[in-house]
Symmetry: C2
Subunit: 194 residues, 2 copies
């Protein structure tokens, strides 16, 4: 029987990990602060000291979510051709990858009121994601007016796919699905990406 020490050591990080697992299993609407604490092997009131309240924990998790979100895009970009068009397509594919791999986290950062989006750390992470998108569009020779359609297309695809609502894309192989998404992203840029 290994006695659990009174002080955890790195409860802050442990709680974030537990919260991510809890979110993935229960979804935003089933998320429970007490359950997260139990998962981390700690009393129900322990998280308060590190994150204040449930919103605080979800705010920190959302910031981490934005970083994962960017990482998913970077992963696609790393294996894509180093042309601006291919990089932008890759970012869009990563956008969708993230929504499908972590739907609850995706909803937390885009469709939830629980995190405090005025929090500086969260704002910074969100701004970084947005800045990346703008950079991609500019690299392709697009203007600020091209940002909205590209973003909307990627976001709409990601959100609908994560919700399981685009049944027309269900029977496709991964390669076919990627090709279809790439074509739609190119279309959102005005067809100038092909």
């Amino acid at each position: 029987m290994t006695e659990r020490p009174y002080h955890h050591g790195d409860l802050h990080a442990a709680l974030l990990l537990a919260a991510e697992a809890e979110l993935a299993e229960k979804g935003i609407e089933g998320f429970s602060l007490r359950s997260v604490a139990k998962r981390a092997g700690v009393s129900h009131a322990a998280p308060a000291h590190h994150f204040g309240d449930a919103a605080g924990l979800l705010t920190a998790l959302a910031a981490e979510g934005f970083r994962r979100f960017l990482a998913a895009q970077a992963a696609r970009e790393a294996v894509a051709a180093k042309t601006p068009a291919a990089q932008m397509i890759a970012a869009g594919l990563g956008y969708v990858d993230f929504a499908l791999a972590r739907p609850a986290l995706f909803r937390l950062i885009f469709s939830s009121d629980k995190p405090n989006f005025g929090d500086p750390a969260l704002l910074e992470a969100a701004d970084a994601a947005y800045a990346h998108l703008v950079t991609q569009v500019h690299a392709m020779g697009g203007t600020d007016a091209d940002v909205a359609p590209v973003w909307a297309m990627a976001h709409g695809l990601a959100d609908l796919l994560a919700a399981g609502r685009l049944q027309s894309m269900h029977g496709l192989t991964l390669a076919e699905r990627d090709a279809a998404i790439a074509a739609m992203l190119a279309r959102s840029f005005g067809g100038r990406a092909l």
Copy 2:
């Protein structure tokens, strides 16, 4: 003092109205069944008889939401030119109108796990909305492959605007905003709408 009768008369409809108001005020994440009951002037357990549980009430509300969603599109179509292209653009504008006018209801039908989407009445309402979209695309001479990009563009714009995330469109007048959305929708159709 008008004594409240033991039997409400039409509690089913009254609860739906109260639930819609509750949703609009508190959002999905602040939605409370007991608060809805209080709003309808009835005990907290009364809704159970009509809707089973909270999910049942939100399922019924989601079905109603889909009907409102279609009505918002129809409202735009009624005042638009009667060409297929103008009608499709109008539907997209109505899509966005709905998301901005009732963001919580929009999230309930597209980004929530609480309603039971296997419910026949909800399925029927959702299918009707999807069928309308397909009809629009076909009327323009589009194929089934054109449905996804048009839907994704409309949905992405609606979701991002409802979340207040497309700040680039904040300073626009209503007419300018509509024109920008129309241009993006046309783009999602491959530019063949202009």
